[in-house]
């Protein structure tokens, strides 16, 4: 995972690198929700437990990101909220889709 550094003083946020970082983060999150959907579908999870898996895997992805950055969030993203928590709703529909598909493929059909 390539994450070039960003120096965060008022003038010195390097826009190109910040954009690259956020793109990588977006890709990571898509992978995360794909995996979460597959896990929830294959294991036959129902209802709220499935949603719980999505949140758990989202937090695991954020934790891995934190470890990779050596916990120095400011150098790579604008704020820790941005990097860890902000995008949880955007990939929710993707998770639902994958969950429905795999649940049907494995358990029912």
């Amino acid at each position: 995972m390539e994450e070039p550094k960003v120096e965060l003083d008022d003038l010195e946020v390097n826009q190109e690198r910040l954009k690259q970082n956020t793109n990588q983060l977006k890709n990571l999150r898509v992978y995360g929700s794909l995996n979460a959907g597959m896990i929830a579908g294959i294991l036959g999870m129902d209802g709220w437990i499935g949603m719980g898996i999505y949140v758990v895997i989202f937090l695991i992805v954020s934790a891995c990101l934190a470890i990779k950055m050596n916990f120095r969030v400011k150098e790579y993203f604008k704020s820790s909220y941005d990097a860890y928590y902000s995008g949880i709703g955007t990939d929710l529909l993707l998770f639902l889709m994958i969950w429905v598909i795999f649940h049907n493929l494995v358990n029912i059909l």
């Binding site: 003038l11 793109n23 890709n27 898509v30 794909l34 639902l96």
Partner: protein, 268 residues
């Protein structure tokens, strides 16, 4: 309600084909847009109104850049640039803010027709494919249950998820094929396509996804009209912003910053 056993053949001939076909149509749409983008030639600025619009846009860009990056300029240079823009009599912003407000109808017709045609084409390609897929799915695959959603739903969803299946007491969890179509549509096959095929399809995806969502909500799509109605107010706002900027030349702080980063480097 006991579990319904669904025939294997439904999975082979309905479920998987719908997914595969929708995914391929998605990719085809991506290629189509790329092709149309390549065919697009640059538009010539033809009317005087368009030139005036471009000038306005450039002025706003210039003032915004100055407000954002003022730390890179030494004092006298910044003052000169600010005076050039904001001076009481001869500044560009003051002159521009005295223009009369355009009324929206007139400004819309002044929008270059090429941009309108582009938007129409994008809209069309999105909507045509959506309608086509809907018709295809509902013609061939209607009238039977295709799967089950993993979460409990209320009775209100019955009409949406079980279109064509008229069994009254059937658990709302059992869905018909048209609902798989909806799930795939909203779920974002685009994101998966983006993952698999890199970032070339980036801008296309954002535009049509955004436009589709906006059309779903019934609002008209106006992606690039900006603040057409009152450019005067815009310029006045820019001017007050520039005049309120507290300017410091960043080079003056450079020694302190160097000390800070060296310390941080040595402490690692």
């Amino acid at each position: 309600m006991s579990d319904i056993l669904i025939d294997d053949r439904i999975r082979d001939w309905v479920f998987l084909p719908i997914i595969i076909v929708m995914f391929m149509i998605q990719m085809f749409r991506g290629l189509l847009t790329k092709y149309m983008d390549n065919k697009k030639t640059t538009q010539k600025v033809t009317s005087k109104a368009q030139v005036a619009e471009m000038i306005d846009k450039n002025i706003t860009q210039q003032s915004q850049r100055l407000a954002r990056l003022h730390g890179l300029l030494p004092d006298h240079s910044f003052k000169m640039k600010r005076a050039h823009l904001c001076d009481n009599k001869s500044g560009i912003l003051t002159k521009a803010s005295e223009k009369p407000a355009k009324d929206p109808m007139q400004s819309m017709s002044m929008m270059n027709p090429a941009a309108m045609a582009d938007m129409l084409k994008q809209n069309l390609s999105g909507i045509v494919f959506m309608a086509l897929q809907y018709q295809w799915v509902s013609y061939f695959f209607s009238g039977f249950v295709i799967g089950k959603v993993p979460f409990p739903l209320t009775q209100k969803f019955r009409s949406m998820l079980q279109r064509g299946v008229d069994v009254q007491n059937l658990d709302v969890r059992y869905i018909s094929s048209i609902s798989i179509y909806f799930v795939l549509l909203f779920g974002g096959l685009q994101k998966i396509q983006q993952l698999m095929f890199g970032d070339d399809t980036d801008e296309f995806v954002d535009d049509t996804q955004m436009q589709m969502q906006m059309q779903m909500m019934g609002m008209p799509t106006m992606p690039s009209f900006g603040q057409q109605n009152d450019p005067g107010k815009l310029f006045i706002a820019e001017r007050t912003r520039l005049e309120g900027v507290k300017h410091t030349f960043e080079l003056n702080k450079s020694q302190d910053k160097a000390i800070k980063s060296l310390k941080r480097f040595l402490n690692q």
